[in-house]
């Protein structure tokens, strides 16, 4: 998929336009993105930022369609407001979550899938601030139906990469997968007959086939989040989630064998790179 991004405010630069045309003619679906900064390169109001971003993205999309009618497109945004106390981009702000959700709604209104950045944080370590900032943005993204997002594991406005955080982000994604399934409603899950069968206290569901059949499907089993008594927790070394994540990282790095590219594909890619290098650098 080809990516392209506007220069806010209101400019689809030459490079962006050329890239869109090249991708479209080569038959690649194209991601058209806006990365405006409310308060600086976009209005400080969220609504104004959405209006401006929409204009920029739609312009790029019109160009793509002119270059190649019906080429696939993705509506994308990476909008972070400016914190006016310092000039920094407020990556972990709840406003980012709101804009992401709103952006998804606008994209879907036009019938496009929507791309956003993976939930971000301003925190400098994988701490509670990181947890709540990413968690809040994540739930908003998921409920709004964001179709595609990039870059887990980031800290400090995506200026730092943390393997521990990547593993923790993966856990959050697992929880979100369960969230997306919602409440399954059918004869079996309503379990009316079972409820009548079990009857009032001291009736139990623990030893029923229904429970065996359904509890695993209905519950996300955390890969990392700890659930235990305080005494047990202390006896196991009082480890917090970051330490648990670190152990997981070590294990993965030690044991995981990535699947390499097929040899022919690797060779072909090298040929392409060499050809481009020769054309651009002359050697």
């Amino acid at each position: 998929m080809g990516t392209s991004a506007s220069s806010s405010p209101l400019v689809c630069g030459e490079e962006m336009c050329r890239a869109i045309i090249e991708y479209a003619r080569a038959g690649h679906p194209i991601q058209v993105q806006s990365g405006a900064t409310p308060g600086a390169t976009a209005p400080a109001t969220l609504a104004g930022a959405l209006v401006m971003q929409n204009a920029e993205i739609l312009s790029g999309m019109v160009l793509a369609q002119l270059a190649s009618p019906n080429i696939g497109m993705l509506y994308g945004s990476e909008v972070m407001p400016m914190d006016m106390r310092t000039g920094r981009l407020a990556a972990g702000a709840v406003e980012v979550g709101i804009l992401t959700a709103a952006g998804a709604q606008v994209a879907h209104f036009y019938g496009f899938p929507y791309m956003a950045l993976f939930p971000m944080t301003d925190a400098n370590s994988p701490d509670q601030q990181c947890g709540y900032e990413k968690g809040i943005q994540l739930v908003l993204s998921v409920l709004a139906g964001v179709n595609y997002c990039v870059n887990g594991g980031g800290l400090e406005d995506e200026c730092l990469l943390s393997f521990e955080q990547l593993v923790i982000d993966n856990e959050m994604c697992g929880m979100m997968g369960r969230l997306l399934q919602g409440v399954n409603v059918d004869e079996d899950s309503l379990a009316v007959d079972l409820i009548k069968e079990v009857g009032p206290m001291p009736g139990t569901f623990l030893n029923k086939r229904h429970t065996i059949d359904f509890w695993k499907r209905e519950n996300y089993i955390p890969r990392l989040s700890a659930r235990m008594s305080h005494t047990r927790w202390e006896s196991e070394g009082s480890k917090n989630i970051v330490e648990l994540a670190r152990e997981k990282v070590t294990e993965i790095l030690k044991t995981h064998r990535p699947v390499p590219l097929a040899e022919e594909v690797d060779r072909e890619l090298n040929k392409v790179l060499e050809a481009v290098a020769k054309e651009k650098l002359g050697n």
Binding site: G13, T86, R88
Partner: protein, 240 residues
């Protein structure tokens, strides 16, 4: 008759009023200039500047007691978290507009324009990001520097030319992208080749830049953010 040197009124010795009425009028104009800067109202401050010229007020006094004092108040409010970047920018723009009017008057009368530290700033070649650079420029202006902003995507040769032309105390180079950061080194090397490296303090900054990088390429200073940049800059030119 008012005969004091003006020091009693705390206005400094440059303006010697002929009569009490003139003092009151002068204070009114200076207050007007100061407040309009604080409020970030460019048209109002320009009117006060023209009023100052009409009433024969010393333009230097107007700049220092009116505009400069206004910017000092704004800077203090910003540091205390009462004012934010937009207020800062509007105040700086208002002060700049009035400054232009008053400095023209100074030139016309052949008086000396106030000496201030000079900074040339820009975003390096291949990079069009300008917000950080613009913020740094504003904060340096508020701190009393005269700032020449070369804009974005500035070729290295242009930076070198600007150092020769404006003879700045500080040259600021901004880069947001890791792919354009080496442009900062290209400029520093260009200054060496042109034999003007020692004439200026070079500061680098931007999202892609770290203190280590600044040291590696031989920059004189680095700021994590705009506020730190100003503090570093003031230290470099001996103001702190």
């Amino acid at each position: 008759m008012w005969t004091s040197s003006g020091r009693e009124s705390g206005l400094g010795s440059r303006y010697i009023p002929a009569e009490r009425g003139a003092i009151v009028e002068q204070n009114e104009i200076l207050d007007g200039l100061r407040q309009a800067v604080i409020d970030g109202q460019r048209e109002v401050v320009e009117r006060w500047a023209n009023e100052a010229i009409q009433k024969g007020l010393d333009p230097l006094l107007a700049i220092e007691e009116g505009l400069r004092k206004g910017l000092d108040v704004v800077g203090g409010s910003f540091r205390r978290g009462e004012f934010f970047l937009p207020e800062l920018l509007m105040a700086a723009e208002a002060a700049k507009a009035a400054s232009a009017i008053l400095e023209k008057e100074l030139e016309r009368t052949g008086a000396q324009t106030p000496a201030s530290r000079v900074m040339v700033i820009g975003t390096v070649a291949g990079d069009i990001h300008d917000i950080g650079k613009t913020l740094v420029a504003v904060l340096f202006k508020v701190a009393g520097f005269s700032v020449i902003d070369l804009g974005v995507n500035v070729p290295a040769e242009r930076f070198v030319e600007a150092v020769k032309e404006y003879k700045p105390d500080i040259l600021g180079l901004s880069s947001l992208l890791t792919t354009t950061a080496k442009g900062q080194k290209v400029v520093i090397d260009g200054l060496e080749e042109a034999g003007v490296r020692r004439q200026v303090k070079v500061m680098v900054g931007g999202g892609a830049i770290t203190r280590d990088w600044a040291d590696e390429i031989g920059a004189d200073g680095y700021g994590e953010d705009a506020a730190e940049a100003v503090e570093t800059g003031e230290k470099l030119v001996g103001l702190l």
